[in-house]
Amino acid sequence: MLEIKDLNVHYGVIHALKNISLTVNDGEIVTLIGANGAGKTTTLRTISGLKKITSGEIILDGKQIGLLSAPQRVSLGLSQVPEGRRIFPEMSVLENLEMGAFLRKDKDEIRKDMQSVYERFPILGDRKKQLAGTLSGGEQQMLAMGRALMSRPKILLLDEPSMGLAPLLVREIFEIIKDINKSGTTVLLVEQNASMALSIAHRGYVIETGSIVLTGSGEELMKSNEVQKAYLGGE
């Protein structure tokens, strides 16, 4: 589904991503874990087209998308829930969801999808008319996810959905991610909460200062010494 080959990205002289390669197959949940400043957000922003590549390839369903604009990539089935949620606070919950469906013209289907977002996140249905900025952190995360789903993505990119949320809510969000995946959406999940991410992921990659240092199935990574030491506080 999504393939990244030898990706290099710079911020001025800072070499933020160094020859990154990763693959996400159809139907998978793949997680990218790493410490602060490792390059996780940069990876997702580059895949979405918000950040220009220096060199390398991004391939979606066999098509080179590395030079396309962000909106063009959305139309090809990519959707991102950005770090820090980035909902539109001065717009209503309903308008935020409408923005998610910006490129679609199938009004009836949009209405159906909005209904299923409300089924998945009942609180959003109750708060339709409310300004998004007045929602709680957890509700905003749900809105950001609902909004991203409104484009009917083939692949959903999530950047630290657990950030700033209470443990109970984190568990709920991860259940929802699993559920979204079961209903047919491929997921690339960026997380600092390694144990949670690895527990729902089919496969994972570990990124350190801009390079992929380890990859394997969720279970393998969970058991590996490096991950235990660096991210799970184990011995």
Binding site: L50, S69, P71, S79, R86, F88, E98, M99, F102
Partner: protein, 288 residues
Amino acid sequence: MQQIVNGISLGSIYALIALGYTMVYGIIKLINFAHGDIYMIGAYIGYAAITFAHLGFFPAMVISMIACGLLGVITEKVAYKPLRNASRIAVLITAIGVSLLMEYVMMFFVSPDVRSYPAVLNNKVFHIGNVIVNTQQIYIIVTAIVLMVVLQFIVHKTKVGKAMRAVSIDKDAAELMGIKVDQTISYTFAIGSAMAGAAGVLVGLYYNSIDPLMGIMPGLKAFVAAVFGGIGIIPGAMLGGLSIGVIETMVSGYGSSLFKDAVVFAILILILILKPAGILGKNTREKV
């Protein structure tokens, strides 16, 4: 009462100009100093449409709006877009340069002389109680109200309008929705400049005279109006425009017209000290 009616007519014009300032500021954080000159060019286009093409008020205004809309889009593409990532001061200086360019290019083509605007409306005077309202004032107020209602509709109910709001809130997030940011900025310039074009024709009719430097003072006052209401906030520009118009006519009606401009700029200073975010603004720390 009489001064309030006069103030509202003048204020409607300020409000129409202020809308362009505020919309452009909202989306790219630029005080577009050339905006007052687009209004001036709008007045000339209306003049030409009425004098040479013998059009009536309404078609002349529509033509002026379309032409100014295009001019706004071209200005943005040529002068501001290449500076999208430059410092704000660089863009501001460019805006002042664009303003001077428009003024002196117009002087070259239409001469610096004041021209008298053709009277297309047969001016009747109505007495309501002891208040006098003339046809021009009614046209100005009604046109301004209609345009503002249309604008509110566009911004809140149409896809383009929602995209404009989304981009002004968060460009990256908007792009992730599939919104084309550059295109949306163009629409904003088009709509804001079209409002100024309408204001130009209205003011020509009201004051009967136009000249290439006519945009400077109303431009500045509309800018004050936008800041007064809260820059970046559309209803704020409407409120600010009307308030400045009424205050100005009150001052010249009951005090002295010598002071009217001074009072307007004193208001700007007061607002910046007391409530920098404007009457309708939330007090965030962003500097204007």
